[in-house]
């Protein structure tokens, strides 16, 4: 192989690899949006209140706190990086709330979804007040300068999120609603 064709091959391999990684991320996210189960989540105020990071609004949900009474099954004995599997079901007011949670995998059944939290450092034992968890949907990116109004709505608890959940427990924000009306609808791509 000549030196030139070797270099061309290197360029091709690098481009295919990088495009592939990007395509994979887009594909996996679009798949959740396309075929996940839709849930509606109520946001909760964030402390500190003014946490607009220039280009995204920090979101926090009522479901971000998993009460100790909802946790079933064994817990890790030593401090370690852990994930929780959290079962959510629709309540009387259309919003989805925590029903049970476990350090071991839960499977969704009819009428509920199971969300897998992001890994967090767990120091046993948990208390009744529960655990603060994240689902990877704690940011909403907005065009520069449009965050303030959303942030205020969030602090007045007028903000809700429609998300879709894959069977593997990954959540993907589909739509952001203010006072029940969609403000941002997310296209597949």
């Amino acid at each position: 192989m000549t030196r030139f064709s070797r270099i061309l091959l290197a360029a091709l391999a690098v481009c295919v690899l990088q495009t592939g990684i990007l395509g994979y991320i887009i594909g996996s996210r679009a798949a959740i949006l396309r075929s996940g189960t839709e849930i509606l989540l109520k946001t909760a105020p964030v402390d500190p209140r003014d946490l607009l990071r220039g280009d995204y609004v920090v979101l926090n949900y009522e479901a971000s706190i998993v009460p100790g009474s909802a946790i079933v099954g064994p817990q890790p004995k030593e401090a370690e990086k852990a994930v929780l599997w959290v079962r959510l079901a629709k309540g009387a007011d259309e919003f989805w709330t925590v029903r049970e949670a476990s350090f071991e995998r839960l499977e969704p059944t009819d009428g509920n979804v199971v969300l897998k939290t992001l890994p967090f450092q767990f120091y046993p034992p948990y208390s009744d007040s529960g655990l603060q968890v994240q689902y990877g949907i704690e940011r909403f990116y907005v065009p520069e300068g449009e965050g303030k109004a959303l942030e205020q709505a969030r602090n007045e608890q007028a903000l809700t999120i429609a998300a879709r959940v894959s069977s593997g427990g990954k959540a993907q924000i589909r739509s952001l609603l203010m006072d029940g009306k969609p403000v941002y609808d997310e296209p597949l791509y």
């Binding site: 360029a11 690899l17 995204y56 450092q121």
Partner: protein, 367 residues
Amino acid sequence: MYRGRLERDLGLWVEKGLIARPVADGLLKELDSRESSFSVGQFLVILAAVLISAAILMLVASNWEAIPRLVRVGTLVGLIWVFHGAAALLLARGRNGLAAASLIMGTMTFGGAMSLIGQMYHLSGDASDMMMAWFAAAAFSAAAFRSGALAAITGFLAWGYFISLGSDFDFDWNLLPALVVPAMALGVMGLVYYTKAGKVRHPAYLLMLAWLVWYYVSHDSVPTAILLAIVGAVGFLLSGLPQSPLYPAAKRAGAAPAFYTCLLCMIGLGLLHIEYDESMGRLVVGVLTMIAAVTSIAVCGRDNGVVRYLGYIAFAGEILYLSSMTVGSIIGTSGLFLVSGLVVGFTAWAVIQLEKRLAGRAAEVKA
């Protein structure tokens, strides 16, 4: 730096009649013709590439709605292909500087594209995963193109990953990230060796040190600090003593191996100072530190400027520390200044004696 010093020395030698003017000119010409030598034009090209990359990243961050997001993703992917394709063509024509700039822009654009996708799908809380993917892509590209510039970028991306561990996990010690960080440092060292980009190896060495300190912070402290000091001391002796089997390899790598192992030893001893701050323990640690400082100067002080300075600083710092803690508490604050003065004076005398001995040894070697 080196060129300036060399030019000055050559001028001096010509003046003293040690070498002829043409020889001096020839030596300088040879230095300038080396590929690794500094060129202002080359440097500016790389700076321009970094600026353009930053512009792309900022454009992504602004989430500018005037361009539909699919167009934004498509443009960035297109740019990745354009930059790498251009790099290939430029390399084929021997325009290595421009090719390096193009490769840097390609890798930075890939990072920008990943954060754009994170923005499109409102992803949160996995900065470290993104940094890992970015590092992997950059490392692959550096190896495929055998590019020293990209090896430098991987060094910084490895640091980016390490720092993102702070935002994602508050630097909690977990098995996977704890293994990934040294693996990245070793990977960067491997790339630096493979791409012959010796100048950019320091981020990797520093990352290794940061990882060891991270280990100390999150583990049983005393044994870890002792371990760091011992590993550093053994590594230093292996790379600095002419009798060591690793000496020739370490010598080829320049001042760095002896310096960083010496620094590791000093960090370990420094941490032990925090653990043992009672009279006896403090004295033992202090004496060990002074022995280590003198040993480092004795072993490497003549040929290795940075080790020499590190040894001086450690030695002087230790004496100041001991005199302010142990001695100071006994004879009171007023006496402290007198003692410190005497001690510093003694330090100066000891250092001058050492320097004289080093100069003497150098003269013997010449004779």
